[in-house]
Subunit: 450 residues, 2 copies
């Protein structure tokens, strides 16, 4: 018995080890899969990581080379801190943080030095008391300001850095006699750090939040179009329930949860200088409006889908046939309009065909309404359901109309903007005699920035 | 003429000054209104600002008193930085940041010191090269890790601090011979700062993210109930369109945009120790599920509302009367069920009456369906619209049912949790003879944490 139980124990132990090893192997496989997936989903992530490494290595040169280190003093650590904290994925986010940090540091440094300077005249006992009162008041006030919605949206990080720097400078002054030199060294380091972060972010394979937002909104519109097309064919088309797989059609769901991403990108985009096809004062706000309308539309689709999937609805062919043609047309024409608008938005050109598609869809929707009003119902529940479905479809169409209008507005705003800036360039050119470089985009950018 | 134009100029100037002064006055009034509003909306914001001021003033004592300053060294600045950065509105957010910062600092400090130590044996030329390679690799890897969804959700701040601290320690070592002493001083300061921030956050009028989340979700459910009640009375009730003002009914709209807030609170709540009626391992995840269902329900209401407000719908009294009774009943009973569930959720008690309300509403909804199926339609567009409306209402009711079920689940999970921990306490008490403090909540907390 004892022998047997010993053997069992050894076997148990062996089994336990095996299970552990297997588990560990599973974990490693999962980890490597995850790692690959994160990179595959957006290869720019890998580039970003390498860029951050590059930025930090660049800053660390200040430590290795004697002359650089001596020039900037022992505060070099602040250059490192600034690079790590400021370096973000997109140019807009980096610029936003960098500007916030630089400006807040300047203002807070000046006020902190002032607070130290004024209180230092009051003698050994009153100095800490007055300084304490100032620190308490200014910190609490700045912290309260962070609750103001407008300040929170754009300057939250700046206010945090303000509180931080003000306290650091005011308190360092209490202990360090060379406060001005110290403050200057830190400021110089922070500016160097912010400059390196921003420069590497902009000049090494930049990621523009504006371009991302543009792409995201256009793709969302396209997904809505794809859904409508598939929906029309699947539910009202000739080959019902066969043609369309769920995968590509369900893409509209991603529209539903794009709000947070869109808002962050729209905020970052406002910090970015003109780039690619986006001029100064590109109407970034309009994207959020289109985004909201897209989500409204996606919710209409969600309701349509849910309505179809509950057990109360079946659509017998004989009833469908009555409205088939019109329903398919509304779906297909709306879908074409959406896709045309997505393309127009991508290239920022006036949409050529969208209006005519919308007109056809509108006319057909009107016909559908008349058909429903004039048809006879024989107490048929399925008939009622079909009618409900069609009315919901018409409701969705009105969402599509709104989206098309708002994209129209965006494109014309953006083009007007471009035209204005171009005419500025031309007039400047005519003044400056014979500057031939005017047709090059970088020239336009320079003038637009001045 | 010259006299006249001079006078006009003076008048113009006077007018300009007046306009400026008026504008400034307007701005000041607006600012003071905004300031009052921010405080009135949530008075805890004022308390938070005062608390932050208190925390910073407490830390600044290290600078004023010689023995404290000498004890912690010139790195005292790190205590200030930690307090400012870690101190957040809710206990959960503060603890989350504090833990992230403390743990990341420890790990990064150790690795950074190791990197410095190993490379320092390689001589003057190889030291910076090897150190540079290490810094590049580790920074890039850690930065890449920030893209992993799971790590990003909970440890994003920790990873940032890891990159920061690792580089600081590794590079400081290159210049400072007393690196161990320096690292120890910084770590001590960061721990002191984090401790002060967390202590003041918890012990001076704490704001619990968990309690906020609980309150938010319950209020959302209540708002949905209020809407349904008003909707039923307004659209199907006897005194149509009279009783209900838009204000209180439209509260369901706030449910639509509560997602971001809910997710942040749910994340913060997981960091919080047991407090009030929330035990350890309170099912915080379930709140997000209920939140999602609430938003689904609110979208159904939005569609209902939108459907009523488009011009295609009028509800003549003669048609309504047919379904009036049932519709009102579905609305009122669903509303009662929602309100009962909100109350049960608030107190974490099993809901007494909700089930019976739901049963009545379910039965009535079934009757409505039968009524619609058996009624005769005379090609009447209004009839079709009414039917659509009723079908949408039934759809909304199924959302309400799901909400009620998920709250049931949450309440029973929470109560099971409490019961388990209570029985733990009781059994521990029976072992430890005559410990009379067992009924005090802090005792339970201690055991639950151990």
């Amino acid at each position: 018995m004892v022998e047997g139980s010993k053997e069992t124990l050894a076997n148990d132990h062996h089994g336990w080890l095996k299970a552990k090893a297997w588990k560990l192997q599973q974990k490693m496989v999962e980890l490597s899969n995850n790692t690959t997936k994160v990179g595959k989903d957006d290869p720019r992530r890998i580039v970003h990581s390498l860029k951050l490494g590059l930025a930090i290595t660049t800053v660390s040169l200040f430590f290795y080379f004697e002359p650089l280190y001596d020039g900037l003093g022992t505060s070099s650590i602040w250059a490192i801190i600034t690079v790590v904290v400021v370096f973000e994925f997109s140019v807009g986010a980096t610029l936003g943080k960098g500007m916030n940090r630089a400006i807040a540091t300047l203002i807070a440094g000046a006020i902190g030095f002032g607070a130290h300077y004024i209180t230092s005249f009051t003698g050994n006992i009153w100095h800490p008391i007055l300084l304490g009162i100032l620190i308490y008041t200014i910190s609490a006030t700045a912290s309260y300001c962070r609750f103001f919605p407008k300040l929170k949206a754009k300057y939250d990080y700046g206010l945090l850095i303000f509180i931080l720097t003000f306290n650091m400078v005011a308190l360092s002054g209490f202990r360090d006699d060379e406060i001005l030199k110290l403050a200057w060294h830190r400021l110089a380091n922070i500016l160097v750090g912010a400059f390196i972060a921003v420069a590497i972010c902009i000049f090494v394979r930049p990621v523009w939040a504006g371009a991302d937002l543009h792409q995201l909104v256009a793709t969302n519109i396209e997904n809505l179009g794809t859904f409508l097309e598939g929906f029309g064919i699947e539910n009202f088309g000739a080959c019902q329930g066969e043609m369309v797989g769920g995968g590509s059609v369900m893409k509209y769901r991603s529209v539903l949860c794009s709000k947070q991403n869109e808002e962050a990108l729209a905020y970052q985009a406002t910090w970015e200088p003109p780039h690619g096809k986006f001029r100064l004062c590109h109407p970034w706000k309009q994207y959020r409006k289109i985004g909201t309308l897209s989500r409204d539309c996606a919710y209409c689709f969600e309701i349509l889908n849910r309505y179809l999937n509950t057990d109360q609805i079946q659509l017998p062919l004989e009833i469908q046939r009555q409205y088939q043609e019109q329903c398919v047309q509304v779906c297909i024409e709306s879908s074409k309009a959406l896709k045309a608008m997505a393309k127009a938005l991508r290239d920022i050109v006036p949409p050529a065909l969208a209006k005519s598609h919308i007109e056809i869809a509108k006319k057909t929707a009107g016909e559908l309404k008349l058909l429903i009003a004039s048809s006879h119902f024989h107490g048929n529940m399925n008939m009622v359901s079909t009618t409900t479905l069609i009315l919901l479809l018409i409701d969705s169409f009105s969402c599509v109309e709104k989206i098309v209008d708002s994209i129209h507005e965006l494109v014309s705003l953006a083009r007007m903007n471009t035209a204005l800036q171009k005419s500025d360039v031309t007039s400047t050119d005519q003044k400056g005699s014979g500057d031939k470089a005017s047709s090059q985009p970088h020239h336009i950018v320079t003038i637009a920035q001045s």
